[in-house]
Symmetry: C3
Subunit: 315 residues, 3 copies
């Protein structure tokens, strides 16, 4: 879609005919992508962006770098929300080739196989599974009944996905208008799952708003886990039952999270960190290999000590 | 069903042939409904009831208003449980007209469409969706794979319901007999969802025991959220991942609840209230526009101060 | 499978041709089962085992009882993981008899019925339900849409299972190799559900690693509940929304757990115990009929007192 067409659709001024392939964050955008700046906290990212154009407020227009076009608007985030709809893929593809199913793969009854999708060798796809359009599944992967995999997602080799799990549902994103309406930010990214990953029953793993929510090789998820959009789980991370990760959480490799623990959004947890059951992480953890507990979070030893002190209040 | 027939089925005495359409609470009952009083806490509601009849203990029979018949029993709540079965609709309708599907609506493969149901224009109903009997779905609504919508529920226009979500499952209600058996209270109400509502993946929204569990226009639910029977969510409420609402919780408009927060039952939360992640609400919040956190719940500033004090215990 | 064949597959030394039927814990094994000892904490169980053979480290080999063969290895738990694969049943049976469906049972559309399974009289099995191989379901049981019941599980009479629930998914079990790989412990047990049990929507109940995860008669589960492998719920237990039980938790009869409460693994809770909402149980509770709250857990009165003391810190 050409930039001037996008601008016209949004009632903005722009003559440029540069071809725009999609939306992205300031730092991740390439020269064919469109980005935005709402929160001044990220103003330093604006200077570094390679985006073709950005939605910005008038007062920061001068800070837009040379090769980037400023699309001036009052509410950049809201404008982004309207723009996201222009790039949303179809709910269902009606054209394209039938799903390719490779040798020795079993497709049980009542399975939906989307257009332009591929399922590798030696897989078992059980009853009631939904494989959306343009999905890729590797070899030797088992998908249990009633799993839903939304369009454009990828699952690697030797994976196991238990019943009822949803992969690629929309992230929870919307902008507000001044009169209290919510404008959906279409979640045009996907979910990418590596090799040798096992996911429990009735989990939900949201697709990214831009690019990918990522579960790296050897990740293990227990049941009823919520992974919000744009999370990145490093190699070998282990998440126990009912864990919840807010949006854009990054877990480095081999992070372990106990049952019902959770994170706030936009933070990083260093490699080999352990979060005890019910731990609530609200700030990034930068030192690897430590153990943490509680909400607010303390180092595990400190938390135990604190519980001792609290119990003493009773005396 | 006539009142004397109901009484007979329950081994109670009553000659009245008034037609009873269903069960309801004391305050909500109309002159064709049957109610109950178990807990003396609600005795003042008894005086105001318009119900045709009530199950009551002998000692409060005199307080039953003039136009209302007292059905005297030892355990009114248990009697209500037995009565609820008499009004339970069929699990599956075998008669009635086929589901009406309006123009430009796509019904994918492996979808069940119940009797006497209606689906509006421009909808997309994806594979594996179950639409029960007597369900009404508005226009432009998208229902993702493997969603289950139980009988009698209503979904408005421009809604999005993500995969695996269950709408209209039975509320968690039962009475106890003296010898430790549980007698199910049939959940004869439904769920009513307004317009422009988006619901995430693998949520569960229980039907009401009487009348309706309500999600008003523009409500937004993230993933893995539990809404118990008879909750009412006002316009524009936003519930983040893994929130749980106990039965008969009322959220007024634009309440925001953070991840894993929850409420006890039978309480109200004032408009524009914000509950931080993990907040646990155990009493009604009557002042609007405040922010709360913690469990037990404090005003957010107080909670932050308290955490500071607690951390000091370590020194 | 003969013991010498198993040993050969695992690169261990053993000549015995005793027939091994499966794996089990030290205390539960019979004379045709194979067990293991990794953690010295359980060394006293070794002396009592009736297992045909055990995987043990060299240093405890002398403590293996007379009629039990010591299979010496460096990492018994990891060896068990490799062995578990040898006993894993097929993902899908292709042979065997078709599912037996008894009189007056309704099977709706898009249901999968596994081989060698039986469904009793007067049941209703709704659309999108998956009944795996070798499953037994009693009489008068209702299974709502899109429920998945994995192979070998049993459900009793007069049960109700709400939509989206998963029964028999794999427990969360794996051993680690020294180079950071996870080796799956195949979960070769099942789930056994008694009579008159009601289970809410979108729950997940994992199958046992050995033997059975058990829900006894009259258990009531609300929505979005996680029951890990090898839990045992006594008669009449009531679990409210979003409760999570870690592996090998035993609840004795009539335990009540409030919303979002949880347990650590390998513990017991005495009969008629009540755990308040959000309670976190980390040690066994041996005295029956008490009420508990908080995390860490206190007796309910103590917890209330403690909250009062904590609130005073603010003054």
């Amino acid at each position: 879609m050409k930039l001037n067409e996008i601008a016209k659709a949004l009632n903005l001024e722009c003559e440029s005919e540069v071809e725009i392939s999609g939306l992205n964050s300031l730092l991740d955008s390439n020269e064919n992508e469109l980005s935005f700046l709402e929160n001044k906290k990220y103003a330093h990212d604006l200077e570094k962006t390679k985006a073709a154009a950005v939605f910005v407020k008038k007062e920061v227009a001068l800070k837009v770098p040379e090769n980037c076009i400023a699309l001036i608007c009052d509410e950049p985030y809201l404008t982004l929300a309207y723009a996201s709809k222009l790039f949303a893929p179809k709910l269902i593809e009606t054209k394209g080739s039938d799903c390719i199913v490779k040798d020795n793969t079993i497709i049980m009854d009542n399975v939906h196989l989307g257009k332009n999708s591929t399922i590798g060798e030696n897989c078992t796809i059980m009853s009631g599974v939904f494989i959306g359009d343009n999905v890729q599944i590797g070899d030797n992967t088992v998908i249990y009944p009633n799993v839903s995999i939304y369009r454009d997602c990828k699952v690697g080799n030797n994976c196991i996905i238990h019943a009822g799990t949803v992969i690629g549902s929309d992230g929870f994103g919307f902008a507000h208008t001044k009169d209290g309406k919510y404008i959906k930010i279409y979640q045009n990214g996907n979910v990418v799952i590596g090799n040798d990953v096992e996911i429990g029953a009735n989990c939900s793993i949201d697709r990214a708003v831009f690019k990918s929510t990522i579960l790296s090789d050897r990740v293990r998820l227990d049941n009823l886990i919520h992974i919000a959009h744009n999370c990145k789980l490093g190699e070998g991370c282990i998440l126990t039952g009912q864990v919840g990760l807010s949006g854009s959480t990054t877990l480095h490799e081999y992070v372990i999270m106990g049952g019902q623990s959770a994170t706030a959004g936009h933070l990083e947890i260093a490699a080999f960190t352990t979060i005890a059951a019910r731990g609530g992480v609200t700030k990034s953890i930068t030192t690897p290999k430590k153990q943490w507990a509680g909400f607010p979070l303390f180092e595990h030893r400190q938390w135990l000590k604190l519980q001792g002190k609290i119990a003493k209040l009773l005396k």
